[in-house]
């Protein structure tokens, strides 16, 4: 334990402060032990030697026996400093090994086990909680096991989710965020993060194209909540009395969003695109008042259908309130025609929301941002940097064009949080804009990545991911054994296709083939997971049976990983 040089490191904070009431530095050590006082004298000398405010101290790794150490021996325990540092370094070693392996293609994407296997305890990995503490040695083993039986979402062959990859700067940002362990509700307890959020949201609004980047926004816990905010704000804009009196104060309000139609296969019924439906149910509109819009063969909303349904709703005496245009649908990656939809919204005076949770990232690319043309006409936008921009989970923004409306919608004037008699400008206290009270710090990792990559770095990331998926599209569009789910080049990095195993290639179209084909993707996926070689999503959509949906959002993916995926599908699917 004596490897750690415990030189005093912190008294320089006092040197850096010129507030008059702090001239008497002595009071800071009041009630400190004598030992601490002598350390402080050392610190003054140390500080004079060093550059002012440069307070780094190098850690030293020491062999430590963790089998007799427990959580209670760590800080704030007496003499807890060295075990704390050594324990954290040991954890970091586990994590850096994991990071290395994440990018190593000779490592599996996952080591699959069924729930009952993990619950029974794999090789001593016991998930049950007990009354008595475990040693730090056991805690380190638990950390290793947790990673061992998890899924490497940053692996270059993990294609299963819209969020993938492991950005090192973003990771560092998250580590710092958890160390700072604060939340976003007031400037008082999160001064730097609150300002970073404000500046970053403004930048995002500028990129959307709102004049001067004016408006408002928040980072929220995911795209579904961001979309829910948009519906709430729309309701508040047109029917502010609902906040006080409830939905009974408003007429029957209807919301419109893209239909990715229901599917009937046996008794299973699946509904895609559910976040606006969910918002409708949660907020008291009712699911049936969320009206689904027809899409073309590429999954884009047909504007004429929107107008027809608005007219129909009005004729029934309902009040159309809100239209969601999706910029990047989950399955097809389709971009609804925002300008055409905006024309209709203007004509009928409806709130236009753009759900760019998945596609918003394309705004960063000069080559691809035209796909969101018209987004500057939206009243609100959802944009999840944790999807296409590779930011670690979670990072989702709701952006609103009208300033003050988030506050108006959600403010409850909670006096104990937002005192008007504070010494600083309380307009920076954002808590009352949110439906949450404490809000997690989701901004720092994103801000840090933006600093480290620059706007141009995000552009390169987007362009590269779309180039990789174009490579996939070109590779399979005419390849034997593949059928594309829709014609033409995808708009986003989504590539949707069926793999047709040799046993089905000669079979005429019809119910039997459909039923068999429906089972192909699940079978191949199950084998992929058992093998742990790669992961890719599948789902049915509308009247289309299960197909693979490939997406690329991880900048670690190369063309050779795409080749690997295709070879792997063919290897595993050959005899299906």
């Amino acid at each position: 334990m004596d490897h750690l040089v415990s030189q005093a490191e912190s008294a320089e904070d006092m040197f850096c402060n010129s507030s008059p009431c702090c001239n008497d530095a002595g009071f800071l050590q009041k009630n400190n032990s004598l030992d601490e006082k002598s350390r402080m004298v050392g610190a003054f000398k140390e500080s004079a030697k060093n550059q002012m405010c440069d307070n780094s101290e190098r850690f030293t790794r020491a062999e430590t026996d963790f089998s007799n150490l427990f959580a209670r021996d760590l800080l704030p325990a007496k003499n807890g400093e060295e075990p704390t540092i050594q324990f954290l370094l040991e954890v970091v070693e586990i994590l850096t090994n994991y990071v290395r392996k994440t990018f190593d293609r000779s490592t599996k994407v996952l080591d699959f086990h069924h729930p009952h296997q993990l619950l029974e305890g794999m090789e001593g990995f016991n998930l049950e909680l007990s009354d008595q503490p475990e040693s730090l040695e056991q805690i380190l083993v638990d950390c290793r096991d947790t990673l061992k039986y998890g899924v490497r979402t940053g692996h270059p062959r993990f294609f299963n989710q819209l969020s993938s990859g492991l950005d090192i700067i973003g990771l560092a940002g998250e580590w710092l965020t958890s160390t700072a362990n604060t939340n976003m509700f007031t400037y008082e307890i999160a001064p730097v993060f609150v300002l970073m959020e404000q500046l970053t949201l403004k930048k995002m609004r500028e990129i959307i194209g709102w004049p001067n980047g004016d408006g408002d926004g928040l980072f929220s816990p995911g795209g579904a909540i961001s979309n829910m905010y948009s519906v709430m704000v729309a309701r508040y804009k047109y029917f502010p009395e609902v906040k006080t009196k409830g939905m009974s104060a408003a007429p029957r309000l209807v919301l419109f969003t893209s239909e990715h139609v229901t599917l009937h296969l046996g008794k299973k019924k699946t509904l895609l695109h559910y976040s606006i439906k969910k918002a409708g149910a949660v907020l008291g509109f009712g699911k049936e008042n969320v009206i689904l819009l027809k899409t073309d063969e590429r999954g884009r909303v047909i504007p004429a259908d929107l107008e027809a349904k608005i007219i129909d709703a009005k004729q029934k005496g309902y009040v159309p309130l809100f239209v969601n245009a999706t910029a990047g649908t989950t399955v097809y990656g389709a971009f609804d025609p925002i300008n055409d939809i905006a024309d209709i919204c203007e004509k009928y005076n409806l709130w236009l929301h753009v759900d760019g949770a998945w596609g918003g990232g394309l705004l960063m690319s000069r080559k691809h941002r035209h796909k969101l043309s018209g987004i500057e006409r939206a009243n609100s936008v959802t944009w999840n940097p944790h999807k296409m921009m590779g930011v670690p989970l979670q990072c989702s923004a709701i952006l609103v064009r009208e300033k003050g409306i988030l506050q108006g919608c959600n403010s409850m004037c909670a006096g104990y949080l937002f005192q008007p008699d504070k010494q600083y400008d309380v307009n920076y206290d954002t808590g009352d804009k949110a439906i949450q009270c404490g809000r997690h710090v989701d901004i720092f990792k994103f801000w840090l990545m933006w600093k480290a990559k620059g706007t141009t770095g995000f552009e390169q990331h987007i362009d590269r991911c779309l180039e990789i998926s174009e490579y996939l599209y070109n590779k399979i569009k005419n390849r034997e054994g593949y059928e594309m789910v829709f014609e033409g080049q995808p708009q986003h990095s989504n590539v949707c296709f069926w793999y047709i195993p040799p046993s089905l290639r000669g079979m005429p179209d019809g119910d039997e083939r459909r039923e068999k084909l429906h089972r192909v993707a699940p079978k191949i996926k199950a084998m992929m997971m058992e093998c742990g070689t790669t992961m890719v999503g599948y789902q049915p959509q509308g009247d289309k049976v299960n197909f693979f949906r490939m997406v690329v959002s991880n900048h670690a993916v190369t063309k050779s990983d795409i080749d690997f995926l295709i070879d792997e599908i063919e290897r595993l699917g050959h005899d299906v």
Copy 2:
């Protein structure tokens, strides 16, 4: 860069796998470069030497010049492994220095600056984002500055929020969670975390006292959202048609919660206890249908007032739906009498929710859990381990006694996430129970802390924090210059008091004294923040002018820190 021994570390995963389809380990290296293939050969040899599946590799710290390195040089860049490790180690050094200082009483709690000062750029700390990337050296400086200008919420003299402290095990858990970078919606992508959540929630339900720990639950993004879930589930239980048809399908529903009455001072109007109000507004009930209940002088709901208001509401033709009993109010730390409230809820067939966001932790203490007596009769419970149990932010549970109702309430059957044709038991896919789609992994840090401390460790934590605040209460209850806001020993760790500066001590009660006293706490708080010595919250409540609310939830706090706080209030407040 050659300090890092780059031995292959990962091929042993293949050794550990016995799945028949993986016997041909060769396919895993398909498309890997020759270089990677040769590393794998080394890995096989290495693996044979080592214990099976033991894959740790010691990192080596190396002096690295980060001024010419950029994010693009890190993994997955070619040769990115060593810069990645060195960069992460550098970040860890910054973080461990911060951790050390957090517990060092000679360090300030914060280095306060006004928003405009930080926005102008403190000593080169530039918050603005730019098009071009910054060097990793600058990124490291940005990390240091972010921490420097933030608030040390783990400092033993930070008493400002219900969440405080910096638990080292919890911190390690958060670092691991961000490295795993996945989310909770399916077992497929979060197998271990999903099971940990399930087991931990069951344990919490057992502690609440529900038979066999049966029921349901989720970790949600904070107490306000957890409380919102409880209202949604209650609505679904009694009026399931609202999910489909909206609030207009239900009669006028009313909710009841504790009143911490409105305050009028000048033109300012503040409302406390806002999460149920907020839920009422968000979910379409309307704020005015959230009826506030009278409290006794200690801040506890008066059951007779609840019954009177239920009867009154029914007479008006409204339908009482839901009662929130608070276990640990934010300001007074009061516990509503749950059994008395439960009797009334049973009599009138209402949903009983217990908001134990702050007080739920006391369930872990044999000495204090009687304060929540009757909680086993609740239909739902909010319990935030990130408050009294010292778990890092965020960690909030909503627990529901009836199994299946969360799913019924929130399910939208999103086919692309929750395929019934998966190869594992899809009952473990929790995504459709939540109002979010992607849900952050909030469980791991808590699970790891529970492992490391045991149930008994949490009990000691709770008992110690309450003992420290009892010390404060005893110290000031009869001390000159202090007045307690309410009589008698507090139920939780909240101690509410006025400091009466010498200038007000002789003054007779009346408007002038009230107005002057109202300004005392804000003035002292502002000086505390300028000095950075300590932080404690204040607020008005009801007809009571601004008073200090002390809370203790950080196990680093000692009696000497309490002495320090009192000395500091007197030092700063003497001439106010």
